[in-house]
């Protein structure tokens, strides 16, 4: 690990002015620093900031402080009862020890698990812009099938963010100059394009202070994660779904997918194709056709296209049954 200066932020306003890399749970950042994938000259410890609460908002939703641990988030009774898909998604990720340390803000900012990003002897446009992409034409079994560019095919590894995308969560930030803003996850994340090193909209010194959930969405909440082993593994494909039935038809459907794109993936055209329809395999197939119309395999990850189709269909069948 490269040497770094360590400083502690004592209040939110000060944090952005300390001009360093923020560290909270550290479970991803320190891992990458040990490998010298990340080499910050200065760390700003934000763990003492008062951002550990989950509070009700005026519009009937919740505000999750950026430092709420993944464990505390998944175990919170309001999350378990009113946003079950989020609790399920968080519990599907990492291990007990990591969830105890990892924070809400940090989880949103997880870096990809692409092997070329991790291996500093290999080319990677995300780690070293302009060096090339080793995964294209290389080992790419875990890589993305949607949203990629000729410069990067890495996936975003979070489960939590997939459920948040389905729930229309918004990210609350404070910039170094003290101004604040609220960004929908769609605007927060950036597709790789020709700058895969830019993964989100955060500016230098801009701190995530919390995540806002809108008022609870009724319906069947599902999080289905397909992975290489039953626990403690990243998603090959995951589906977060909130589906509400009215009589025999689908009244509302919110769907987001993980493991298949550089950001938690949501395509409202898929949802539109389901709303107002009677649940049937034909309807689900049509939704999958829309979702995967532009999907492209890279060789080793070709299996993700039929896997995404089957997982989506299985989740929809499960979420609409017995209605």
């Amino acid at each position: 690990m490269r040497p770094f200066e360590y400083t502690r932020a004592s209040d939110v306003a000060e944090a952005g002015r300390l001009t360093g890399r923020f560290i909270a749970g550290g479970t991803n950042l320190l891992d990458l620093m040990k490998l010298e994938v990340e080499t910050p000259a200065k760390l700003v410890d934000i763990t003492r900031l008062p951002l550990r609460d989950i509070e009700a908002t005026d519009d009937g939703g919740l505000r999750i402080g950026a430092l709420v641990s993944n464990s505390d988030l998944a175990a919170d009774s309001r999350i378990r009862n009113d946003y079950e898909v989020l609790s399920r998604a968080v519990l599907a990720g990492a291990s007990g020890q990591l969830r105890n340390k990892a924070t809400t803000g940090g989880n949103l900012l997880q870096r990809t698990r692409c092997g070329y990003f991790y291996e500093t002897s290999q080319p990677c446009n995300k780690r070293d812009p302009g060096s090339g992409c080793g995964a294209i034409g290389g080992f790419n079994r875990i890589h993305a099938i949607l949203g990629v560019s000729e410069h990067c095919i890495a996936t975003h590894p979070s489960d939590m963010a997939v459920a948040m995308r389905a729930l229309d969560a918004k990210v609350e930030t404070q910039k170094a100059d003290g101004s604040t803003r609220i960004l929908a996850l769609d605007d927060f994340y950036r597709l790789p394009g020709d700058t895969p090193d830019v993964e989100n909209a955060l500016e230098a010194g801009e701190l995530i202070t919390g995540v806002r959930l809108p008022k609870p969405v009724s319906g069947s909440h599902r999080y289905r994660k397909v992975r290489d082993r039953a626990s403690y593994a990243f998603a090959l494909i995951s589906v977060a779904a909130v589906v509400r039935m009215d009589g025999g038809t689908i009244a509302d459907a919110r769907l987001a997918l993980g493991g298949m794109a550089p950001m938690p993936w949501r395509d409202t055209a898929v949802e539109k194709a389901l709303i107002g329809q009677e649940p049937s395999m034909a309807t689900f197939e049509k939704a999958a056709d829309i979702l995967l119309a532009d999907a492209k395999g890279q060789g080793e990850n070709d299996f993700k296209i039929p896997l995404a189709r089957r997982t989506l269909k299985a989740v929809l069948a499960d979420a609409t049954k017995g209605a």
Partner: protein, 169 residues
Amino acid sequence: MKLTINEVEHDLDIDTRTSLLDVCRDHLGLTGSKKGCDHGQCGACTMLVNGRRINSCLTLAVMHEGDVITTIEGLGNPDDLHPMQEAFLHHDGFQCGYCTPGQIVSAVGMLSEVADGWPSHVSADVKNGTSLSGDEIRERMSGNICRCSAYPNIVDAIETASAKMKETA
């Protein structure tokens, strides 16, 4: 800086890069916690910080001033074993023993999470909590790897210790 480990306060002058695990092993002679992968994947370094289990290899010691830190040495000793240590001995919950301190500390942390009503990935009902079962133990302990594959006996040991700790609670 000061660190409180197993109820003892230590004055330390360390490089900012030092992990909580390395402080214990290399600076304080607390070598019970093991270094397996040093990347948070194996669980051999598990410690309790403010009662919650974490990977001590993935956290900087300088970030833990004021925290209550418990290592395997703080749970019990050969003359006064913690019920979890006793149960691992009774059930032969290990072969080489390298992962064992991490397994035991993690299991103690895990049982307090269950006692607090935390759900897991395998809980059928996340809303109303769950009781401890073999499947729950296996899921909740997935952050601790045993390359000798002593898993069946580890699960038995945790079930025994859980029952005993409930009796004496």
